[in-house]
């Protein structure tokens, strides 16, 4: 019983970190894109991108994201864990309003509410995996 509780809290921490990293990736990406000079050639975009430190940070975030994600999947169903990460739509929107001074109209707020409701639905029921090596009868 207590080991299940421990697994559940680890899972919650893993999901929180995943969402945090996803949010960080989106914001760093936008920040890096804003620092690019106007370019037309795809090759130029790639070349300039490789010299922009924020893109290197982005690459590191992606690697870290994969490591954490594999940890999450050790304990949770994919059909449970992945929809929960949709929470990053909400965090990215919130921080875009704060940092990039983007605006949220009523339609977007309804969209965010639907996403939150969807995540709430997914989070009902068992969080732990029902398939593969860890499956219990």
């Amino acid at each position: 019983m207590s080991s299940t509780l421990l697994t559940r809290s680890r899972l919650a921490v893993g999901l929180a970190i995943s969402i945090l990293l996803d949010t960080a990736a989106q914001l760093v990406w936008k920040g890096a894109a804003l620092r690019l000079p106007p370019l037309t050639e795809f090759a130029d975009v790639v070349k300039t991108g490789l010299h922009q430190p924020l893109f290197i940070v982005l690459g590191l975030i992606f690697v870290l994201q994969l490591v954490v994600w594999l940890k999450v999947l050790e304990h949770a169903d994919l059909s449970f864990a992945q929809p929960i990460t949709a929470l990053s739509y909400v965090t990215v929107c919130g921080l875009s309003v704060l940092w990039f001074e983007e605006t949220l109209d009523a339609r977007r707020l309804v969209g965010l509410a639907l996403i939150l409701l969807g995540i709430w639905f997914v989070s009902r029921g068992s969080a732990l995996t029902t398939s593969g090596v860890e499956a219990k009868p």
Partner: protein, 110 residues
């Protein structure tokens, strides 16, 4: 086929490919002895999806492509049920549909 029809078809394909990469990552934790292989395949599949998605953006507007980003939650859930044999409860399906609708509203152009 017009370029927008091609674009939309490829976009839906992208959602399925991204779902497939998630299946690979889940397989990686299921069979530890082949972990590196599955992580490798999953990463390559994900990269292919990214390249294809970039090509799709050349065919259709971001204002159409971005609202459909929620599709991946539905395709991954389908593949989880079908390939991984996860028990996907009705509440999970409803949740995925709500996220799809919400992402559609959030990302669509006014």
């Amino acid at each position: 086929m017009s370029s927008s029809t091609t674009g939309l078809t490829l976009l839906v394909l992208c959602a399925w490919i991204e779902g497939a990469s998630q299946i690979c990552f889940k397989q990686a934790v299921h069979c530890p002895q082949r972990k590196a292989l599955w992580v490798g395949i999953g990463s390559v599949v994900h990269l292919v999806e990214a390249v294809l998605y970039t090509a799709v953006l050349a065919l259709i507007d971001l204002s159409i492509a971005y609202p459909l980003s929620g599709l991946v939650f539905v395709t991954t859930m389908c593949l989880s049920a079908w390939i991984l044999r996860e028990v996907v409860t009705p509440t999970r399906w409803i949740g995925a549909m709500l996220i799809l609708a919400g992402a559609g509203l959030l990302a669509s152009a006014a």
